[in-house]
Subunit: 424 residues, 2 copies
């Protein structure tokens, strides 16, 4: 009989976990450096809470639990519930790095349990929020080794204005957004075809195609939007301009991309997306959702960004693999030459652990040869050997497994040598 | 309409999360210092995997999900599944700090979603394992501020021998264990009554009562066990002795408690339990379960300990509350005297964040007074003020909110001052 995980679920073995923990810690450190507060909510929510977000996309994806409950499918719904029923000093800035669950068909790189890393600002309509979220995501990507991400910005009010200007009726707007959401994955020709198939007039579809194809500096794009859509787009165009200007204070500028949609009903203003690089594609996205919190009771503007950390971890794992990843947590294995020196090994381990050096001892009562085999297999960087000579001198023999160098040193000397080294 | 979490579930707001994260980081650091490897498994497992552990205790407590799945109720079942289907260098030592879910009736201090912190050693029968697990748990408790925990040890083979010696039939042994599990919560009189009610003879119940009441040094207890139970208990008594001796190498000694059971069918040898202190009671427990991994395919000895971190966090939260806990993550809030100095505030924030100092800026475009109000409410330790004077001099005015002291200093001086301070 073979026991496995359910479809779309994963075990993370130690070598993978080392990469995952390192990635999450770096991201958490950056989120905290911007003053975002940790908030955790349960995995299980009431179905009525989850279904409040609405949209067909979500409804079928909830893992249901008897008693009218389900597993959360994102971190924004629980945030909205929490802020609607608590009073925090505003703006409330929170981060959350946690798993979510979706009952969609697993594919390569898409799982039914996966982690998200979100930061959100609730209670402010200022474009400073968008700028800070983008700066924070950019810094996190930098820390993870992606120094030149591409930031794209758009505004749903501009897209709404486009729909209005081209005379698309309310009930067809989702079809338009759904089609636009495929820009980059499909040709403009196919996207136009889709819109027409969904009942949008050929004239409107052509106008939309032309509009979203515009390319130029941000300044020119904003002028183009104002000129083309006129009064319909004043608010959206001004918001685009304000966000671009707020980002300049942080010494970067997102690129306005008039075709950027990001999902259906949810966003109300700014939307953004970050590619780690030209080849790698999207690793973060988000936007302003000023109506969401209100559906849980107390209206409040909100804006957030979500890092696709599974994507980032997959990329970093590839990198680590080529560098020879190890599952080791311990920096060294302290081998006892004979059982009677185990006690002295324990003494050394205690001294090292108190100084934050991770180390292991023999728990199988093996001979020295077999202790070495284990230490080598486990991937530690050093072996310390303790025997007659070492115990008598209150020292240890430290062997660097990479260079093969050995030296007899005191516990203090060993600590000094190991403290500088990275603990996995 | 009021949206709340389901029964037995909790939101953790920032002030609580700061305590939780701090607790978990300390525990994780200690686990890693002993070389335990991180392993993560999905929240959702196949029902057949979960039900394999068996026992009525568990069966009704699983949150079921359609498609023959359920949420994990502990971290040992997933570990057993993983080690049975992977080959690791042995012993495989893993840690896991993660939530589990149980459909039991919530009570004060008992929830339907709660975290566990486990370390386990798979692949070794050596008493060195028990000693290391206890030493590791003891060190973790020390790091959390519990310097004098009480460690109790027993062995299920001794209890099995007791059942055999007193002639309790196999099918009544669970009734005996269930009754003994209440020692400390109920009088010995009541426990004896319960055994008799469940069909254990009065003679046997009296013998059991007498046996578990024995109190003396570990040496005397071991002699008593050997003398009273004879050949039945040789193996168990020897294991008790071996574990006590292995612990001595770590300079501590657990106290043998002959009434300690810890659950029903699961444990096969050593069992242990740790009280943080006389008043606080049990905060950790575990034991040897040499048959568990084998039920998933590949037999392997295993032993583990689980820290009741929810209990520990509750105790630490109480302590923090009396010290005035704060929800702040940022060390300082950088207030701009007027909007035109926001850009300079961003520049300072960037310099501080690069040095690992957590700080916040104004995202509501407020006047200075209101920025101060927010900073005070958010619980930061410092406010930096930047205005005309500061910008011209490339400095900032740093105000210590506790002492009220203010000084004009350079960014480098501010970094130096703040780097020594604890970031929440």
């Amino acid at each position: 009989m073979d026991y496995t995980v359910p479809k779309g679920m994963r075990d993370f073995l130690p070598a993978q976990m080392n990469v995952r923990l390192d990635t999450m810690q770096k991201i958490e450190g950056v989120f905290r450096s911007f003053g975002y507060l940790p908030l955790a909510t349960p995995a299980i929510e009431k179905l009525e809470v989850l279904q409040k977000k609405g949209g067909d996309e979500i409804e079928g994806q909830i893992f249901q639990i008897e008693g009218g409950m389900g597993l959360r499918f994102d971190l924004t719904v629980p945030l909205s519930r929490v802020v609607a029923s608590n009073s925090f000093p505003l703006p409330f800035k929170r981060y959350c790095i946690a798993p979510v669950w979706r009952r969609e068909e697993p594919q390569k790189g898409r799982f039914r349990e996966f982690f998200q890393a979100d930061i959100d600002v609730v209670g402010s309509t200022s474009p400073r929020c968008e700028a800070e979220l983008l700066a924070c995501a950019k810094f996190a990507l930098f820390k993870l080794g992606f120094p030149a991400p591409k930031l794209m910005l758009n505004n749903r009010k501009v897209l709404n204005a486009l729909a209005q200007k081209t005379g698309i009726p309310q009930e067809k707007q989702n079809a338009m957004f759904r089609a636009l959401d495929k820009v980059g994955k499909q040709t403009l020709e196919k996207i136009k075809e889709e819109m027409i198939m969904k009942g949008i007039s050929e004239k409107a579809a052509s106008e939309i195609e032309k509009f979203i194809s515009f390319s130029g500096t941000n300044e020119k794009t904003i002028s183009f939007v104002k000129k083309t859509l006129g009064d319909f787009a004043t608010e959206g165009a001004n918001e685009l301009e304000a966000v671009v200007n707020a980002c300049k204070l942080y010494s970067f500028e997102p690129e306005i991309s008039l075709s950027l949609v990001r999902g259906l009903d949810y966003y109300t203003g700014s939307v953004f997306e970050i590619s780690a690089s030209e080849e790698i594609g999207s690793v973060a996205g988000g936007g302003r959702y000023d109506n969401m919190v209100g559906t849980y009771g107390v209206p409040s503007p909100a804006v957030g960004i979500s890092l696709g950390i599974e994507r980032l971890i997959a990329l970093l794992e590839e990198k680590k693999k080529s560098e020879g990843a190890t599952s080791a947590v311990a920096q060294l294995f302290i081998a006892n030459a004979k059982p009677e020196f185990f006690e002295y090994a324990v003494e050394i381990a205690w001294a090292l652990r108190q100084k934050g050096i991770n180390c292991e001892l023999d728990l199988l009562e093996r001979n020295l040869r077999k202790q070495f085999d284990y230490a080598n297999a486990s991937g530690v960087a050093y072996i310390a050997i303790v025997g007659e000579k070492e115990k008598a001198a209150k020292k240890l023999t430290l062997r660097d497994l990479k260079s093969g160098d050995e030296e007899l040193c005191s516990i203090e000397e060993a600590i000094k040598k190991l403290q500088g080294k990275k603990s996995h």
